[in-house]
Amino acid sequence: MSLEAQFIDAIEDLDLPDLDVSAAVLNEIPATVPRRGASTGWLLRAAAIVLLACASLIVAVEPARTAVARWLGIGATTVEIDPAVQPDAAPPPNSVVGAEVDSTLWNPIPLLGQPISVSTAGDGSAAYFWAAGDDWAGFTDDGVGVSLSVRPVVGAPSLKIASSEGDVQPVEIGTGASMIFGLWVGADHLLVSEPDAPGVRAARVLLWEQEGRQLRLESNGDLDDVVALAESVDVARLVAVLEGTD
């Protein structure tokens, strides 16, 4: 008997409860189906929690996107849902080119090993890159590493356009009183950072705000792995390092 057949045989024997949830489901849903743009769903609940960022949005929106129904965001980044978006049609992201990094430089995510590239700017912004390797179980086989960027909350606006509501979800980072909400864009999406720019494909990313900074952790790893990475970052120390006060 093949391995596949044995597996199927075993899963068939999983003792699932014999139940019908249809009545409970129908009891919970409204009498009419919400249409695009209606005020329903977790997105709006999330929007109430996550900082809305439309006031500073100056990125031009193409006419085809004017029907976009809902958006939310963190800091200067706005996330829109537009089913017409086809991120795969955009050019692939640039691979990170390795560079010598001072080994004494403080590493915000030791779990990933030493970053291969670090760039900083005078305004307290920084970007760290790690190549895919064996240090972290969340690395996937596509050769794309992990990047962490940090910048002041007030910055140039950018727009992320995901093709499905299911690609975007609020997530909890941390526990208890220190828990904060972040936003996970769990699929390739379009990133528009300049007005009238066509947008480039961007990988899955976790966005959150902490210590007056906007942080972005880009990875093809699973959400659980990426959240664990985010929780491991000592953001207060990262800010102090970037401000030269550490």
Partner: protein, 190 residues
């Protein structure tokens, strides 16, 4: 003469007109598969019914986003999987575990393992091997082998690239084989 069964796409189209009964038909048609996916993703059948219920409510609210020219299952399984993972994450937080050990969540439940009927020694060995896999491995093998989803469809469920699915499948299959060999060798040593 019995009425021909309506397709998923027809039921979705009818549900979008406000016919909740059509959505009820969809729930009844797919709830068992969703329950299986939720149990595999959670690592236990406990709470899987709540996950499935929540997932179907989310599906209903997002029904207008479903592309009826595509099969329903990948979209549905994705919502079930995400709901299960969110539930699992939330439960982990409630348990206030200081360490993020995956062992508790990922051990497919020794009690459930006991509930799996061991029809033969080999069957029992397979069950034990499956139970020692992590939840991600179990889920991807279940989607591919049991639910017969294509690699592209699994990529949609898991939110990753098809190439990643291929390599994860290969690793999961190898780990299952290793676990099975280990179980068998233990029995031989005994």
């Amino acid at each position: 003469m019995s009425q021909p069964q309506r397709s998923d796409a027809e039921l979705v189209a009818t549900a979008l007109t406000g016919d909740a009964d059509a959505f009820g038909d969809l729930v009844r048609r797919h709830q068992r598969a969703c329950l299986r996916i939720a149990s595999i993703a959670l690592g236990t059948t406990e709470g899987a019914d709540d996950v499935v219920q929540d997932a179907f409510v989310k599906m209903f609210r997002s029904l207008h986003q479903f592309h009826s020219d595509k099969p329903l299952e990948p979209w549905m399984y994705r919502i079930v999987t995400n709901t299960a993972r969110n539930r699992q994450r939330s439960q982990r937080r409630q348990q206030a575990t200081a360490t993020r050990s995956m062992s508790q969540a990922d051990s497919l439940v020794s009690s459930d393992a006991a509930e799996l009927v061991a029809r033969s020694e080999q069957h029992s060995a397979v069950v034990q091997a499956i139970n020692r896999l992590n939840a991600d491995d179990r889920l991807i093998l279940t989607l591919r082998w049991f639910e017969e989803q294509s690699e592209v469809q699994i990529a949609e469920v898991l939110g990753c690239r098809p190439g990643t699915v291929k390599s994860r499948l290969s690793r999961a299959r190898a780990r299952l084989r290793d676990e099975l060999d280990e179980t068998s060798s233990k029995k031989v040593r005994r």
